[in-house]
């Protein structure tokens, strides 16, 4: 992609007296982490090119509080939640798409009890809808043709919310061979980042969790490890590097794969 997309913020839309069909919740990783920002941009490309009327909160967005909550800091979590809900309700947001399963889970399941009721979807679900509605077309024989892809289920998309099908349905459009790891779907092994582990050293053990999981992925002999979570993406990327396989095995978010295959 060469053209720069002008990403609309809620503030701008509001000033024009407009409202979006869906708010794109970018998340902290998607906003600040260099690798995850690429995923964010892929989601934006998809939204933009499919003619979805969307907006982001921009600097008005703040951490959902997920890592604080799972690390036991309920106070901090609820402070973040109340603050975000005030902003979301102020803009009368109805539907949210998130770029991260943790944000997805928190806003979908934990915000309603605090006054924030929205329809929340993960970006793979939105992509699936766009494909099914014929708005998003994947080009034939693209970069993934004939390649092996394995999908790593994010815990907070899979077990936590039982979304197993949407990411697979999207990947199945890629003209590639989808191979499952020995532990997949409800039995999928965590990448090691959840529950605030992303932000600390692991406790003493005999192995890192992401190494254990990367072994599962490498066993499938896949050329691509598809992810749906910026944190899984980091963990799997580190894992693959650990085995010096970064040349042969690429880690990509489903949004990036689709944006690439649709030539956006």
């Amino acid at each position: 992609m060469s053209e720069r997309i002008n990403v609309p913020t809620m503030q701008e839309l509001m000033a024009k007296g407009e409202s979006p069909d869906v708010l794109f919740w970018v998340g902290c990783a998607g906003s600040f982490d260099d690798r995850a920002k690429k995923i964010t941009k892929a989601v934006v490309k998809i939204l933009h090119n499919c003619g979805v009327k969307y907006a982001v909160l921009g600097t008005e967005e703040a951490c959902t509080g997920d890592p604080a909550k799972r690390a036991g800091n309920e106070f901090l979590f609820q402070m973040q939640a109340f603050q975000n809900i005030q902003i979301l309700n102020g803009y009368e947001i109805k539907k949210i798409v998130t770029g991260c399963p943790h944000c997805f889970n928190t806003i979908k399941n934990e915000y309603p009890g605090l006054g924030g009721d929205y329809e929340v979807v993960h970006h793979t679900q939105l992509i699936q809808d766009l494909i099914n509605a014929g708005k998003l077309k994947v080009k034939e024989g693209g970069a993934f043709k004939g390649k092996r892809i394995t999908f790593h289920d994010p815990c907070y998309l899979g077990r936590a919310n039982e979304v197993y099908e949407a990411p697979r349905s999207v990947l199945s459009r890629l003209d590639a061979e989808l191979v499952e790891m020995k532990r997949c779907k409800s039995k999928g092994l965590c990448c090691g980042a959840g529950g605030a582990q992303m932000f600390k050293e692991a406790e003493p053990g005999n192995k890192e969790v992401n190494i254990e999981r990367t072994e599962d992925a490498l066993e499938t002999k896949a050329n691509f490890i598809a992810t749906g979570c910026p944190f899984c993406n980091t963990m799997m990327t580190d894992g693959v590097k650990n085995f010096n396989k970064e040349e042969e095995v690429k880690i990509m978010d489903i949004a990036e794969m689709i944006a690439m295959a649709a030539d956006l």
Partner: protein, 441 residues
């Protein structure tokens, strides 16, 4: 009433009273937990109970052990039918009181019992081999030494004995029947086993065997019954209420603490007067509840019910990413520790009065901080558990206590909290830069 009738009645009354007493003790212990509302969604709770507990749905994720367990399970349930007759015979001195009146149905019932008993016998032998000869990691983890290991084996020995007694009873009786020139009972297994094992014995010997079988059987039932409350085998009863009251919401959802919500919503309420004196608490005697859990009494009653239901099967730990990579955390141990500590607290309360402090607590004396911080909150343990136990909610409550009451967390997490507080992100970036990505190439 005959001597044996009186002995039978005394034995039954003692055994049943003891069982009721111990069950009530466990119920009281469970009621030490704080309240949580699970009175909702009657229909889906019933449906879940039928599928998961009665139907063993989650067990069948591991088909071989599920099938073996199913044999034991079905044998147990069907054998209860025969127990009715044993009670009638025991009290009145009759012999096979229902045989004549039930006729063909009676033969059918006894035949079913005999067939499933053989299957259960085989299953139990395989379980014994699995536990003691095959080196299956989930049975040899560090928490499975000492009593838990013995407990796992004892129940299987009981099962073997129980089944042996059933066949002594039916086999001996069959031979007596033939001895008396009467027609065979026609029970599928004992009509073969009887002549095979007891052929050629004197009527006196046969009578003795039959009596040992009969008394042995009922004694094993009573022993079993009273063994349950001190063992992981209480699951055979608690599995049902435990599944019924389990969390039916999305697994990813952690509860929003209401005590925190009250305070935070005050802060966000523009109409609240920050200088107003707080309203007088309704009951000043009540100490303010802790944030999170330090001890078992800070957990909710479903957590405590979970602890007594745990079968110690280790499916949770064998799917736990932390445990599988050598960390100290084992969700099974979390459940066992909770139960053991609750037993201890219950004993203390009965001895010294409710609320007695013994200077110990679940966190610290049973579960270490290292275990608590190793969890990735991945829900694998919750997903795996065949009886819908939720070890994660206990782990989170322990973390809440550490963070909110003791300000204790690994230093990197403290930094993460500060960042969220100051920058609205877990890393040290300025909130004003949050939208910069849109302007970058």
């Amino acid at each position: 009433m005959s001597v044996s009738g009186i002995s039978f009645v005394i034995l039954s009354v003692v055994a049943l009273s003891l069982f009721v007493y111990n069950s009530l003790r466990i119920r009281n212990n469970i009621n030490l937990g704080i309240d949580v509302d699970r009175s909702d969604s009657f229909n889906s709770r019933i449906k879940t109970t039928v599928l998961v507990a009665l139907g063993q749905k989650k067990m069948f994720k591991r088909p071989i052990s599920a099938l073996l367990h199913l044999f034991i399970y079905v044998a147990f349930v069907i054998t209860q039918l025969e127990l009715i007759e044993i009670f009638v015979d025991g009290i009145t001195g009759s012999h096979r009181a229902f045989r004549v009146s039930l006729g063909g149905l009676y033969t059918l019932i006894i035949n079913s019992i005999e067939i499933v008993s053989v299957l259960a016998f085989v299953a139990t032998l395989i379980f014994l081999i699995r536990r003691n000869l095959l080196k299956i990691p989930r049975f040899t983890m560090s928490e499975m030494t000492g009593w838990p290991k013995l407990d796992g084996n004892l129940i299987l020995y009981f099962e073997i004995l129980l089944i042996c007694f059933i066949f002594m009873m039916n086999g001996g009786d069959e031979m007596l029947q033939l001895e008396n020139g009467a027609e065979s009972y026609g029970f599928v297994i004992s009509s073969v086993v009887g002549p095979l094992l007891f052929g050629g014995l004197t009527p006196e010997a046969l009578h003795l065997i039959e009596q040992i079988g009969w008394w042995g059987h009922i004694s094993m039932v009573f022993l079993f019954l009273n063994y349950l409350p001190i063992s992981k085998h209480f699951h055979i009863l608690l599995a049902f209420p435990n599944v019924y009251y389990s969390n039916l919401r999305n697994k990813g959802e952690l509860n929003n603490m209401q005590s925190v919500k009250k305070e935070v919503s005050m802060m966000f309420d523009p109409s609240a007067d920050p200088y107003a004196t707080p309203a007088e608490p309704a009951n000043t005697e009540e100490p303010p509840a802790r944030f999170g859990a330090k001890d078992v009494v800070d957990l909710n009653w479903v957590n405590l019910l979970n602890a007594y239901t745990c079968t110690e099967c280790g499916r949770c730990s064998s799917s736990c990413p932390a445990n599988q990579t050598g960390k100290k955390l084992s969700p099974r141990k979390i459940m066992m520790d909770t139960r053991d500590r609750l037993e201890e607290v219950g004993r203390n309360y009965r001895k010294h009065g409710v609320g007695h402090e013994d200077g110990k607590s679940l966190l610290g004396d049973y579960i270490t901080e290292e275990e608590v911080w190793a969890c990735t909150s991945c829900n694998a343990c919750v997903e795996e558990c065949p009886v819908n136990i939720d070890p994660l909610s206990i782990i989170i409550d322990l973390r809440r206590y550490l963070v909110m009451e003791e300000s204790k967390s690994p230093s990197e997490l403290t930094t993460m909290f500060t960042n969220i507080e100051n920058n609205g992100a877990p890393w040290q970036f300025s909130p004003m830069d949050r939208f910069n990505w849109a302007a970058e190439e």
